[in-house]
């Protein structure tokens, strides 16, 4: 029988993969893509807690709706930032963005 732990384990594994991607990728766009995986791992945890611990309410799913909204706003602003960075620095690699280093 599939229980809460199976879903939490899947969420944990996806979170770790996304975190690893965030740390090993050097392109800002790939890092943003990894952040989307992190969002999805959290969403999965929220929905599975809702399903198994509070089956008589839909609060967890409403939280997921809000998280997806915030993720959409974040993606729009972050990609605009990437465009601006590319316009100024001609690169999207984080190793090339060292202006603030002094």
């Amino acid at each position: 029988m599939i229980g809460l732990y199976h879903y939490l384990m899947l969420s944990l594994i996806l979170f770790c993969i996304g975190l690893a991607g965030l740390l090993i990728r050097r392109s800002v766009i790939s890092m943003l893509i990894s952040i989307e995986i992190l969002f999805n791992a959290v969403n999965l945890a929220a929905v599975s807690f809702n399903r198994f611990l509070y089956p008589n309410s839909v609060t967890g799913q409403i939280f997921v709706v809000f998280i997806i909204t915030v993720a959409a706003a974040e993606a729009a602003v972050a990609l605009a930032l990437v465009m601006a960075v590319y316009k100024n620095f001609k690169t999207v690699e984080v190793s090339g963005l060292t202006t603030l280093k002094g």
Partner: protein, 178 residues
Amino acid sequence: METVLQYFSINPVFYIFATLAVIFALMMVTSENPVYSAIFLVLTFFCLSVIYLTLEAEFVAVIQVLVYTGAIMVLFVFVIMLLNLGRDAQLTEYAGPMKYLSILLGFAILIQIGLATKVTFSIGAKGAYPIERVNEMGNTEAIARELFSQYLYPFEIASILLLLGMIGAIVISKKRPD
């Protein structure tokens, strides 16, 4: 509708799509071309959408496909194509003895968190929507009723946030007068 959901909660469906989601996520992290990364991420989202169906959260499953794979990922692919990144945004490897140590420590943390989640959970208090009522009127209607009554202010704030995000994106990416 209930029969469809019962069909989706058969055990092999979870295992197959969980495995596929993990495989696609790994391929997303390791593929050097950002376009391939984005496409593997779309596949991961589709697998997660099926996982949401096994959790009887069909509204979230539909929103996942519509918003994530439909809107957000199109935005990503669009920017990747626009910047013409192609091959030069490559995965940088850091070789050395610290690499193996970090892999070991990563697995240790994974096991640690896995053990930490092994606490006993108990089913919470009854909410406004008993399971019979949700089955009767459907998950989407339950979410809509809750969203537009109890969570009305967060909903409005979310709409303002989206508006601000849109304005911010336009202002940031706009060409500045010299």
